[in-house]
Structures are given as structure tokens and as C-alpha cells.
Point group: C3
Chain length 170, copies 3
């Protein structure tokens, strides 16, 4: 593993071989596969699983409940989510704890690419080799091989090469 100074890496992170970590990362309780590259200002929470040969670019947040299969690209400034209706406090007015919410999982399948600046709602699956255009807000499943973009993200091009009529391919 190669790394840089200015990192916070909890002792419970499980690393594969050949991982490359850049500066200012915050990792805890997660599982990182072989030959993964993780950029600066990245946070990966406990319970997240990153497959082999993934690239996680700078300023990205990967939360509990997210699984990336192998060879997934995640751009810069990408935000994952695991709670549909977040609140600061519970009904009793005290700060929420882990008992007050249910983690909703997200799955990104092999070889998919998530464009920079995207936000992915939870409870969805991004299909194999799918591509999420930069700046998208993904609110539902993305079929394998499809290209989606926009807010909310819509299919711009399916894996059969058909181009959607709505929206502009960024």
C-alpha cells in the first residue's frame, strides 16, 4: 500500500493489495479491494465495500450501505446517501442515534462509472458498465450499459445505442 501524510485511517479498515491512498482521506470500518485508488478529501464510512480495481476520486463521500463491485469509477465530488428522510433529532427531540434510522443500501455493479458532481439517492442499483453523467441526481435504478444524465437522471442512451428524445447528453 502506498500512502501520504495527513490521513485518518481507522485500524478496522480492511485493505487489499496494492491500494493507493492520497492525502486528507478519512476511512473507517470499510473494506477496500486490491489495486484501488482513493483520492484526496475522500470519506468512506463503516460498512461500505469497495471492490477490486476501483477508482474513487477526490471530494467523494461513500456512506454505509454502499457496495461498489469491481472496476467501478467514481468521479470527483460524488455523494452517496443511505437515508431517505434524514432528521437531526428523533421524536423526543434528542440527537438521532443509529437506533433512529434504517440504512438503505445502494449497489454499483461491475465496471460502472459515476460522473463527477453526481448525487445518488439510496435503495438503487447502477447496472454493469452503466455511466452516470456528470452533475446528475440519480433517483432510480440505472440499467446495465445505459448512459443517464440530468436532475432527475434520465436515460440518454441505452445499451442498444438508442438515444432518448428528452434531455441533452452532457
Amino acid at each position: 500500500m502506498s500512502s501520504q501524510p495527513n490521513q485518518q485511517i481507522a485500524p478496522d479498515v480492511r485493505f487489499g493489495k496494492g491500494v493507493r491512498l492520497f492525502g486528507f482521506v478519512n476511512l473507517y470500518g470499510c473494506e477496500i479491494g486490491d489495486d484501488v485508488k482513493i483520492g484526496t478529501f475522500v470519506e468512506i464510512q463503516k460498512g461500505a465495500k469497495i471492490g477490486h480495481r476501483c477508482k474513487i476520486s477526490s471530494h467523494t463521500f461513500i456512506c454505509e450501505g454502499v457496495t461498489l463491485e469491481d472496476e467501478v469509477f467514481v468521479g470527483h465530488g460524488v455523494t452517496f446517501i443511505n437515508d431517505r428522510y434524514p432528521r437531526a433529532t428523533n421524536g423526543a427531540g434528542s440527537l438521532q442515534t443509529e437506533a433512529d434510522w434504517k440504512c438503505v443500501p445502494t449497489l454499483v455493479k461491475r465496471g460502472a462509472a459515476i460522473g463527477s458532481g453526481s448525487t445518488l439517492l439510496c435503495g438503487i442499483t447502477i447496472g454493469e458498465r452503466a455511466m452516470v453523467g456528470a452533475g446528475s441526481v440519480v433517483t432510480k435504478d440505472v440499467p446495465a450499459g445505459a448512459i443517464v444524465a440530468g436532475n432527475p437522471a434520465r436515460v440518454m442512451k441505452s445499451s442498444h445505442g438508442k438515444t432518448a428524445s428528452a434531455g441533452t447528453v452532457p
Copy 2:
């Protein structure tokens, strides 16, 4: 107060009791209420006021002019703004100083939740218990209890349970 290493906290920050600060935060001149939790890679500028029992998630930027009342949730990668027409330099071609712009305030009322990846324009009020969907760009006031989403954000559901016809609830 509990904290971690790798922080920049100016001596003029005013903290309430029981504040929890994570790593890589940059705080200066702001006021933080009791039992607030502030995630990694968060910057809070001078003059910002954070009420009691708020959660500020990682990668979020809270600027001068922003007031969060009590029990506000702010997701990951949320960006606030305080200048409608920013420029690098003033008419004379030298770098702008504080004399060259007017700070436009934003108010987030009690119990509201701002979804991850959202951007909030300035001069607006987010009503009590309102919810801003992830990835939204909020350009105007949000009524109390409403759910808004999209770019620009539109009301998806009002506090009376009426669902808007336009847009997709993320």
C-alpha cells in the same frame, strides 16, 4: 467537547456543550450550539450561527450569513451561498475585499432537513420541518413542512400532503 486531530479551529469560535467535531474541519468566527455534530471536511465561516442539536455532515460548506435554528439536519456536500453576483475583482481590477460585496443572509428554521449534494441560493428561508431533497438547487423560500426537490427545487409535497404534479420525488 470531543474532537479529533487534523483540525483548524480558530480561537474565536463559540461552542456550546457536548459538541462533537470530526477530523479535517475548518471553523472560524462562528457560533455552535449544544450537542451539535460536525463531520469531516466541513468549513463554517465567521458569523454563521448553528443552533442546538444540529447535524452538519461531511464535505459541507456553511458561509457567513447562514443561521440554522435548532435541530436542523444538513447532509453531505451541501453548499450555502451569500453573494448573488460574485466576482473575483472589483471595478478597479484588484481582488475584492469585504468592502466590495454585501452578505445576503439565509435562514433554516427549526427541524428542517437539507439533503446531501444540495446547493442553496441566498436570501431565502427554509421553513420549519421542511425537507430539501438530495441534489436540489434551492432558489426561493421553502414553506414549513414542504418537501422540495429538483433544479430549481419545486414543491413535491406540501405540509397538507398534496403532491405536486411536476417533477419526480427523489
Copy 3:
């Protein structure tokens, strides 16, 4: 040059006079003009060129291939891109290297302002004194003096003061 602790600045960065750097920045191989101000949590990659008297705000990512002319304002949480179809691995299934992709440049001309939370696709030019509204996703060239906003960004107001019919000015 004035700076703060907690920085990663590679020895190959070329600085002009009077540069101000805040904490938690990651700079390498880039060129920074005179009197530039760079906020916290900013990454600027090799090959990027920043003109004189620019302001780069916190949480922003400026990649290889980006050129900012003089007096450009870049807001908080802005993401630039240099690859239209990013993938983690090449056809042979090993992690991509610099040989596997072509850097697509982006040019931001003198005096332009890029609003916070924006994402800029690559291969585009932002004209002189143009303004990109906060939270925009810019997919094509922006004319000089125009104001654009939305996802994808559309012209809200041209330099001649004509207001577009589509979209809402944020």
C-alpha cells in the same frame, strides 16, 4: 505568499506573487498567478493554469486541462472534468493509466464567475465576464457576458440584457 498549516504542496507548483493559501489544500504541478486566493479543501492538479487575481473557493476541484484566465471567480464546491467517458480500468481489465485516456481541456475566460456547487463538463469555453449560476451543470460553451443556470445550464440573460424564456433565474 501567506499560508496555513495542514497543506500538501508539491515542490513543482509555480506560484506568482502575493498568493494566499488556506488550510487543507492539495496542489501539484500547477501554475498559480499573482494575488490568487485559494480556499480550504481545494485540489488543483498538474497542468492546470490559474491566472492572476483569481479566487478559488473552498471544496473546489480543478483538474488537469483547465485554464482560468485572470480575475476569474470560482465558487465553493465547483467540479471541473477532463474526461468525457471515464472508466476505472482499460480494456485489459487493469487500472487505467495516463496512456488510456485523453485530457479534454476547458477554458474560463477573463473575469468570468463560476457559481458554487456547479459542475462543468470538459471541452468547453466560458466567455469573458460570463456568470454560471450556483448549482448549474454546464454542458456547452457559455457566451461572453451571459448568465446561465440549470441542469443542463441554459442562458438566462445574454450580455444584451435579453432574458431567456425558459428556466428560472436562481
